[in-house]
Amino acid sequence: MIKTWYIIKREYLTRVRKKSFILLTLLMPVLIGVMMIVMVNIATSTQEKLRIAVKDESGCFEDKFRGMDVGENLRFIYLTGNRQPIDSLKNLYQNINCDGILFIPKFELDKPLGFAYYSENELGLSTKEHIVKNLSEEVRNRALSARNYNIDTIASLDKKIAIEQIIGDETKKGSSEIAGLFGYACGMLIYIFLIVYGAMVMRSVTEEKSNRIVEVLVTTVKPFQLMIGKIIGIGAVGLTQFLGWMLLTVCINLLLPIFMGDKMIAMQAMQQSNQMTNSSEATQMLMNISMAFQGLDIARMLLSFLFYFIFGYLFYASQFAAIGAAVTDDSDAQTFTFPITIPIIISMVLMSVTLSQPFSSAAFWGSILPFSSPIIMITRIPFQVSWWEQILSMFILLISSVGMAYVAARIYRVGILIQGKKITFKEIGKWIFMK
């Protein structure tokens, strides 16, 4: 047992001490942070201190423009009492420190035409949308009033229907979309982990085999100890990297508003005014998110994630280790890893089916069979999968991963000592039963 620990320690420390590991662990969240800063900058740069003069010949929008400013970044200067025609004004907006002039003609409510914006620079997409949305809303309201409709009555008639889902006797809280998104993110994380760290296990085994260290090692430790130590050590490296990324991402998210505070507030204000002018819609969405997380049963999700993460990794890393031990060169490795990666890729396809139909038979079997259960079950859990299904799936995965580790160890113990020989699947099959 202690020897396995030393192997785990070596596998872990040699990797986490590598400059490439430290750089990647630190740089990834920093890169994401930089990307966010760039995005915020891009999003706010078009809004930077934009002042727009408004020449409203219709006189309908004076009140509307009072509430249309977006912080310091987008200001509307409503020209009152100005009699000059737009043809003479359109070149003079710079005299009043404006970046452009918005012209609103006298228009018919049935045909609101002739709206124009004069400037040297084009309007940003979000600014344009912001203006169009507000003006359209005002025109619509006026058209309704002209037809003697009460605007408040019409607004009160605008109802959004929510469907409450009752599963068994329990009322399901939150939205399926958000639950699905959460499941999808977890499934994706496991998928990346299986592929990246499984391949790392294989490379490490092949390396030890090709430089013959393994011949020295197996005179002191059992091949099984060597294999399992390697799998656990590399798995721990992966966990460390994920935890590091999560921690740094949280830190960057907390620090970002300190450095980018005003810009982010401006961006949020912009987004809110663009997309969520209807406050009840925004509140509903926020409620959905928070309820989705309440309804998720975080403890169940977290523990299940850990379980599928660990045993899914053991299931696949064992196969990768066996292949690494059996092959002697890279081209062989590719041939043999293909059958292993197929179930992982199929699981990815099944994931989208699961999201749209979480209780279909494809999703059910995908979450029961050990080849796909680590990815599919974790995607399904937020949809409140019944306990018996999850326990069955976990039990099968547990047995299968231990069984797979046993079979892999039998292949491994023979494979690591075979040099310069072309290996076939038939031969690998023989090694499993070799005494």
Binding site: I2, K3, Y6, I7, R10, T14, N211, R212, I213, V214, E215, V216, L217, V218, T219, T220, V221, L417, K435
Partner: protein, 285 residues
């Protein structure tokens, strides 16, 4: 290579040579002894007990192809091997320092293996093999890649280990090393032991009764010599005779003296292990 009916016994404190052509089964035999493989039938006894896992720690094995982690530092690597041999941190450090100092390689301890030359790596590998003071040491081509000075250092270490109670099995193709180091040899071919025993006794057993004589003048044969002696070869002032049945070295001496040839030296030529090796393997084929 599968082994068949291999039976041999190894005495404590001796140095054995394990010889055989490529693919003869040497590595398979070693792997059986080191418990990397288990025999389908038969038993291996260690100190009179059936070979078991507990004996692994009493053995040291240095394979022909060197096995070290290229990116790891020398001291760190040796520490790892010592830990796998169940040494505590303190004990491991003490032993590593002792051996690094003994082989004068202390200054390499913080270098990674890939920074070292092949010969240097060889010395590190040797330390990794003997660190735990094994009772049975198996060395596969321990001198490959070593310059004569370092080969001498390792050879002396092998003798010192033997003097301190270690039994050594030495697998090699370099026959001069076998004659120099080994007391006993095993010759293995096609999975079978075809010759084993004491090196001196085997040489006697396979001798061709050849006598080499060095004379003061160049060797010139004549009818009298040729009628009484069997000449195998002459070269400058050297003669090589093969003794006929019932002949002794004195008979050669007598004939040459009768011819008034001045003799500088005379000795029996014993076959080298290399000659015996080639002869036995060829006969087997």
């Amino acid at each position: 290579m599968a082994l068949q009916d291999v039976s041999l016994s190894i005495e404590k404190n001796k140095i054995y040579g394990l010889l055989g052509p490529n693919g003869a089964g040497k590595t398979t035999l070693i792997r059986n002894i080191t418990q990397i493989f288990y025999p389908d039938s038969g038993t291996i006894l260690f100190n009179g007990e059936k070979l078991a896992e507990k004996h692994q720690n009493l053995m040291g094995y240095m394979p022909e192809e060197r096995g070290l982690y290229k990116k790891m530092k020398v001291a760190e690597q040796l520490h790892y091997f010592a830990q796998l041999r169940n040494f505590s941190n303190i004990e491991a450090t003490q032993r590593i320092n002792y051996w690094l100092k003994k082989l004068d390689i202390e200054s390499w301890s913080n270098k990674t293996v890939e920074e070292l030359s092949k010969g240097m790596q060889q010395k590190v590998q040797f330390v990794a093999t003997v660190l735990h003071q094994p009772t049975l040491l198996i060395l596969d081509e321990p001198f490959s890649g070593l310059d004569p000075i370092n080969a001498e250092i390792i050879k002396n270490e092998i003798f010192e280990l033997q003097a301190n109670g270690t039994t050594i099995i030495f697998s090699t193709h370099r026959m001069e090393n076998v004659e120099e180091i080994c007391e006993d040899i095993f010759l293995i071919n096609d999975g079978k032991i075809i010759l084993n025993g004491n090196v001196k006794a085997i040489k006697q057993q396979y001798k061709q009764h050849l006598i080499k004589v060095e004379t003061a003048t160049d060797s010139e044969s004549n009818e009298t010599i040729e009628s009484q002696l069997e000449i195998v070869q002459t070269y400058n002032n050297q003669w090589l005779f093969k003794l006929k049945e019932h002949q002794t070295q004195n008979d050669i001496l007598k004939v040459l003296l009768q011819q008034q040839i001045e003799i500088l030296s005379m000795h029996e030529v014993l076959p080298t292990v290399n000659d015996i090796f080639i002869q036995k393997v060829k006969n087997e084929i």
